[in-house]
Structures are given as C-alpha cells and as structure tokens.
Symmetry: D2
C-alpha cells in the first residue's frame, strides 16, 4: 500500500494534532507513524506517515486526493502553518569533491545499488583527481578548476553547470573550498557538508592536526547544512572515534575517514527522507 507523508511546521497552539488527524480520519486515512515536537520557543513540527484505510464492507476505498486533503488542512489550520504533502520521494543531487575519494566512493556504491534515496546527476570538482572513479559508475564528471579564476568567476562557472541539472540538493563530500554567501543563498538549506571534526571543536582547516596537537582522546565528524558562516550551519549528525597518544595526525585522518563517510550517509538518508526540520540553526529530526 502507498505510504503518504505529511510535513507540518508552524506556531504551536492548542488542537493542532486534533485538527490534522480529524481531516485524515474523515478521509479514511490511517496513520502509520506520527512524530511531533514543540520547541521551547513555541514552534510546532509534525511528520505524519499514513495510508489509505481499508474500505468498510460494501464501500469502495477512496483514492487519495492530495489537493483536497491540503485544502481541508489549510482551512482547519491557522495561517502561518507550512504544509507539505508527499514531497518528492527521490531527490536529485550533485556531489562536490576535491581530491579525497572516501565519501564520494561511499555515495557512488550506495547509489549504484539504489540505496541513496537520491539520484546523483553529476559530480563537480575543482580537481580532476577523482574523474576515473566517477567514470567507473557512468556519471558525468565536471572538472571546474579554480585556478586563474576569482572566487566569483569560479562559482559562476559551477552555477552554469548546475543550471543543466537543477539539483534539489548539493552534497559537499569533502569539497575543500569555502562557498560565498551568494552561492549559498541560491541553495538555502539545500547544501549538506561533511566536516572532519566533532564541531564546534576544530572549526576551519586541518582539524586532525589541531586534534593531535590538543591531545584529544576522541575525534569525530559532523554533517551539517551550510549557511553563511563556515562550519556553523545546523548540525544533522555526528559521530566519534576513540584515539590515543600513539595516533599521529595522519592516523587520525585515516581513522576519521571511516567516521566521515558513515556520518555523511546517515545525514543524507535523514534529509532525503524528509525527516529533518530546521529551526533557529538547530535541526529537529522526526
């Protein structure tokens, strides 16, 4: 049976769940899973999975009329509540890389077995190092060098490439260039980055070198949305790995790669399944 997804996001007030579930009940729609959250500052978030219920004896099962459901919900709910019904199930993405292959390799393998919940339309890189890997999987690779280009020229060239694909999301899979606010503005809340530290520790360059020098006993990785402040966007997922004094910065980088690629994949799964809301620079994951 088809599973439908309703996403809702707005100021909290009494009766919100009651009103929404009433519309679904009157349409013979069966809630399979319902997750809500009210933030301390009074914002309400809900993600509801439902399916068309079995018809009573002698009657016919209604098909879902999404527009009618949305209209009724809008009538019953106050202004200012955002509703999305059945967002696109499989997202279109473009992956950005520089020279490191581990996150890209992970995404390509998952994609080639249809485990990514997304279609990789293309890979963009400021180096051609990873072209051979990408070509193994028959995916377009766009080498857009940043050399002899201003940051703005480089991003303009990338944007021309992206215009071909119209991706839903950009995935920075170890893309080692800082994006301008203008560029980020085009893809607000639609750029996911993997940072190779347990943010907010070790913002910026060479986090494993910083971790080694600080003598930490645990390293980590952070997947987050990119906003205008480097490494300060809403965090989606984090994970960690124990280290000890024997590990050099290079060892940490090697060990960290396994954490990075898994954290990035887990974060993308949440994002592509429409489980992630953003509020006040924090993610709510339902």
């Amino acid at each position: 049976m088809t599973k439908h997804i309703l996403l809702m996001d707005g100021p909290d007030m009494p009766g919100l769940i009651y009103h929404v579930t009433g519309v679904l009940f009157r349409h013979n729609l069966n809630i399979i899973r319902n997750d809500e959250y009210v933030s301390p500052d009074g914002q309400f978030f809900m993600r509801t999975e439902f399916e068309v219920g079995s018809a009573p004896a002698g009657a016919e099962a209604d098909d879902l009329n999404p527009q009618q459901i949305l209209n009724e919900l809008r009538e019953t709910l106050p202004e200012g509540v955002k509703l999305r019904l059945n967002p696109k199930a499989k997202k279109n993405i473009v992956v950005f890389v520089t020279k490191e292959h581990h996150c890209l390799g992970e995404l390509l393998i998952r994609y080639s077995f249809d485990e990514l919940d997304a279609d990789i339309l293309a890979v963009v890189s400021n180096y051609n190092t990873l072209q051979p890997l990408v070509s193994r999987f028959g995916i377009p690779f766009h080498y857009v060098s940043h050399e002899n280009r201003s940051r703005e020229e480089h991003e303009a060239a990338i944007l021309r490439t992206l215009a071909i694909y119209q991706p839903d999301y950009l995935v920075l899979a170890k893309y080692m260039r800082v994006l301008t606010p203008d560029f980020v503005g085009y893809y607000n809340n639609r750029i996911v980055n993997i940072h190779h530290s347990f943010l907010p520790a070790f913002i910026g360059a060479s986090p494993y070198r910083q971790a080694y020098e600080r003598g930490v006993k645990i390293i980590g990785a952070t997947a987050h949305f990119v906003n205008n402040n480097l490494d300060e966007g809403p965090i989606i997922a984090q994970n960690v790995q124990e280290v000890d004094h024997r590990h050099t910065a290079t060892d940490m980088a090697t060990m960290g790669r396994d954490v990075e690629k898994i954290v990035l994949s887990q974060a993308l799964k949440l994002v592509f399944n429409d489980r992630v809301f953003i509020h006040q620079n924090r993610t709510i994951i339902l």
Copy 2:
C-alpha cells in the same frame, strides 16, 4: 504549571489519536509532548504529556477533572484500550543485593539527592555485607539469609518483609539468586534486574569469565524486566565497553561495573517515568 501524563495501550484502529486529542482539546488541555508507536502486529501505544491551557480573556481556567477526562476517553475509545492518567509520580521501591556494592551505592547516592524518581523503602540482601553502606543513608536493611532454608522458605521470608513495604517495584541491583516463578508472579513486570553481560550473550553465571574465554572485544550490561525465564525478560537498556586481549576476566568485571550501574540507573529512570510499555517480550520506550 502541572504536567499531566496519559498512557494508552490497545489494538490499533483509525482515529485513535484524533479521538484522544479531541477530548483534550475540548477541555482546553494543551499537549506538550506526544509519542506514539504502532507495532507491526497492530498494537497502538501512546504517551501524552499535557497541561491545562491558558484561559481565554474573561474566562476562568478549568482545573483538570481527571475522572471526567478518563470517562470521556473511555466513551470515545473502543473496548480493550487500556488508559492510565497521571500514574504515581514517585514510585516506592525495595532494592535487592548480594555482596557487590556498586549498583546499590549508585542508587543510594541518587536517592539521597532526590534524583531517583523513587523512594527506596528498604534494602534486602541474602548477606549482611552491605549493611554498613546502607546504614550510612539511614535506610532499613533486611538481612534474609538463604542458608539452611529451601528456596521457597527463603522467598517466603522475603515476601513477609516486602509485605511491610508494599513496594511498586523491586530492583535487583546485583542480586545473585534466581527467583521462582511464583515469586516473580507476585511482581509481574515490576522487577527490574541488571545482568552483567550484553544479553543474549553470556546468559547465566560468570558472564565476564565467559566473555574472557570467548575473546570478545566488547563487553556490556543489560537492564531488563524479570519474567520466568532467567535473563530472558524484556530488555529496557543496554550499553557496552571496549576491551582488548590484555584485560583479564577480573579486569572486565571491574570495567563492567561502571557500565552496569549506569545502565541500571538509566533503565530505572525510564521505568519510573512511565516511559516503558511491554509487548511480546519487547519494551516500547516512549
């Protein structure tokens, strides 16, 4: 403002959330948090936290009339749905121990700073080893030796002690005696045990010895309800600890104690806050 808790457990059917939230809405009750779960075999579980809403201008805020709320819920919900409104906030417990102090010490410290969400009425032990520790905290200690007593006589003596206290829950904080089905039957789903392994690995005696001999690289602990089959009741919480070849069985036992006491405390917090449902020998934690 007072927080109220409604617990619900019954066969799933369309409209359950709608009906419950409708009763709350009509009484001007504001849902703070709502968690639901439907099991694959069609059982519905819900835990709702709500408070009395602010009155509209010119009106008076209603006080909660719990019996009326329950009556209305029962009218609107089908037979077979179990409802509990505002279960006792602080549980009464008796703690069972043998000779090891670490879990008991943890519970006593938490209790003495009112962090346990429960009152420790007494400690029962088949040895008097831990009497000095218990006496530091001014709690009754009942030494009920099992020597020269059949299992039934021993349990009868314990039951006489428990009759004084009428506890809501028994906590087996490293109590190294197997309880009979009869005894367990008196406290169905109300006995919590900590087992010193990552169940179902290493059921029974000397799990750290078994873990050492099997050469595992991770050990663990499991808090679970006790039913008639030793170590096979519903699992509430588990956690683990890395080990390596240098660790002897004794080292593992030492390291494991830290895991045991934390896992037991976390499980008790969930149980005493009425977050744990039991279904088909599995726990649902809302």
Copy 3:
C-alpha cells in the same frame, strides 16, 4: 627510511626482550615501536618495528642482512620461539561474496585507492549478482554456483579457482555458505569472516531477525577468523550500533551493514599489517 617488522611468539622466560633488543642494538638497529604481551598461561608475543640507525661519524650505515639477524636471534633465543622478520607487506587475497554488495563495495573502493594493504586477485561468488560491480573495477569475477553440486563438489570447484591465484588470505565478505573443515584446513588462520551480529549473540542464520525478536537495544558485527566451528573462531574486531523498538529486523539489517563493512575493513587492516596473533582461540593485537 625503511621500516622493518619482527614478530615473535613462544613460551615466556626471563630475558626474552633483553636478548632480542641486544641483537638489534649490536646491529645498530633502532627500535621505533615495540609491543609485547604475556598471556596468563605464559605465552610471550612481541611485535617490534625498527629501522637502520644513522651511522656514527666516519662509518657507513649497515644495510640490513635479514638472514643474519634471524640467525643471531635464533642462537640467542630458546627453541620453540617462532620468529618472522619482514612478512610480506602487501597480502594477496581472494574475496568471497554471495549477493550483498556493501562489504565488497567497501573493499573495492579501498583497493582501487591502494588503502587495503592487500591486492584483490579475484572475487568468487555462488551467485552472479555482484559481477557488474566487480567488473567496474576490472577484477576477475568467478561465478561458482553451488546448484546441482554437493558441498564437496562445490568446494572442489572453488579450490581449482583458488589454485590459479595462490592467495595469502580469503576474505568472506558476506559469503553465506558454511565451509567444510577440509576446506578451512587448507587456509588455517587465513580466512577472515564478517558475521552480522555481536558474537556470541545470535550465532547462525538471520541474526537481525533474532535480534529484533529478542528486543535488544544494541546490535553489532564481528570480524573473526574461521575455524571448524561456525561463528566460533578467534574474534578480531567488533562494533555496535544502538537501535530501538521502532526498528524492524529489516531496519536493523540496513543499519548493521554500515557496521559490518567498517568492522571488516578494520579487522583486515590489523591482519594485513601483521598485528594479529592467535592463541587459545583468542586474538592478541599488538
């Protein structure tokens, strides 16, 4: 500077470290890292990394004469001590799979970027499902079906394939067939398997189904050497992942795959870097 590795394994007795380090010292060899372990039953294990020291002024640096070093070590050490100097740095392996791609994909990506510390000579499978993946990486794929063959005939066919490659190790990367003692005997302590549970919990088939039914709160994966008893060989590495009541057996299998592939890779890194000794069905990792 070239790094040399000396491995030593034998009955413990006073002076072992002294005698070995003496030989190295007299040859102007500089210990970079030295790890030892003495088991409770008196077996000594040592792994020493060293390099040729800088020559004193006016002298020439000696090149290493491995045979001479070994001869001197054998003279100074008692009988029964096993010595290996500079084991083959990059192992030759054949990977066995059935239908699941995640561990194989992980190994192929690592191999294609020279991160595996091994050469994948070929992939063997009892299905042809994964042939397209393997062919992307230009590696021979041998489809050896078990249909219409006795277990012995099937293994004989596999052994004929292996005879071409003479691998140092076999890696069972989710190979879902039990191997006979005869087959295992040909590759004693040279077969590494990934089992999709936290052994010894859930030995045998469908461990995620078993985990779901037991209601565990943590699942795991185990990389181990294969010996004659299924899932009972020496454990090399384990890791775990938290789950809760919402996760079905299928969800657990999906989440578990990320743990499996990372644990297998970490175990192989240890094995291929000659860090793993085996003693009494337990691994010592230096």
Copy 4:
C-alpha cells in the same frame, strides 16, 4: 608475588630498552608487562612491571634492592633520563567541590570500598552544601567560603588547609572556581579536573547551555590536568553521550553528569596507577 613498577622518561636513543632489560635480567627480575612509546619529537617513555623471578635450583631468590637497581640503571643510561621505581602505591588526595554531588558521591563510594587507589584525606568546598554527604563517610569537610575574600585570600585559606594534609593530588570534582597560576604552580601536574564538555568544544562556563544552542548531537566530558590556561591542560580521558533535539540544556546537564563521573574516575585510576606521562601538553598513557 610483589609487583614492581619502573617508570622511565627521557630523550630517545638506540639501546634504551636493551640496557634497562639487561639490568633487570642480571638481577633475575621477570618482566610481566612492558609498555613503551617514542614521541615524534624523540622522547622515550617506558613503564615496566616486573617481579622477582623464581630462583634456579639450589640458589636462593634475591630480594629486590631498589636502590641498587636504580644505581645500575643510572650508570647504564645516559644523563637526562628520569627514573622512578615503585612510586607510592596509594596516593593521598584532597577533593574540591562546589555544590554538585555526583562526582563526589562517586569518589566517596569507591573510596569506602577501597576501589579508588587513593585515600581521600579531606573535602574542600566554597559552599557547605555537600557537608552532609561527606559526613556520611566520616571524612573531614572544610568549608572555605570565597565570600568577602579576594581570590588570593581565598586561595591562601585553602592552602593553609592543604598544609595539614600534604596531599599528592588535588581532584577538582566539579569545583566551579578558577585557580590562579600561583596556586596551580604549587601542584604542577598534580591537579585533575573534570570539565563538563567534550574539550576543546565549549570551553568556559555553561557548556551544556552552549551545546544546546549550537544544536550538537553528541555531548561529552573531559578529565584533564590543570595548568595555567583554563580548560587547556593535558587531556587524560574523554567520553561522550548522544543527544537529540528533544533534550534541553537541563536534560543535557543531567545526562552529562553520568559521563562526567565515570570519566573522572577512569582518569584518576590511570593517574593513581602511574600510567600517565605528560609531554608537550599531551598525555601518554602506558
């Protein structure tokens, strides 16, 4: 049999292990465990556990003459190598607290069952909140208020108290006052603090509030030596705990307390067992 411990720390050079083990061998001393580390900048660290070997037939076992062993080691080793033989097995400590009880409670329970590898001589606090807890365990409690005192006067008063006890180590078990460089200078590398964040994230006050506001998915705690820069001393141990969007800063503080007390205890065990060396603001744990 008595276990002896030798600690060594100095510039690396060829033959160090050989020379040390030679002295032990000639005295019929049997190495039980030996751990070494050479830092990238060429500092050598070694921790050796040994016992007196069994005498050959017809001879008598030598007792250990520590001074002679040390003399011979000093003769054979170059200048600048620091040697310690059999450091004091049980350390004397004074515990500092403010108002939070969880770390102190943990230490008191461990101490009362002789599991701390240290004697708690006294507890010092700038509040009298925890006096009742400490008095349960019969340990002196010194309430040294900071009110109406300059920082220097307050520390002078504390130092007068410490003068009575001459502790080996000070343990800051949630002591919420910053110590002056002068004070710290009196106890160089002998003050252990628990910080309630995963350092270097969230240095300073209210780390759980900071963690909540940043929206991290993992919180942690750090045990470290105190030096002159707040929260920047050598890290001994760290651990973490997953959180999600539902957890308020208060929830995080509650959950974090379990991590804090275990991390502090584990760090103290390492320090009190003389397993921790300090080099370049990093700890080496052998």
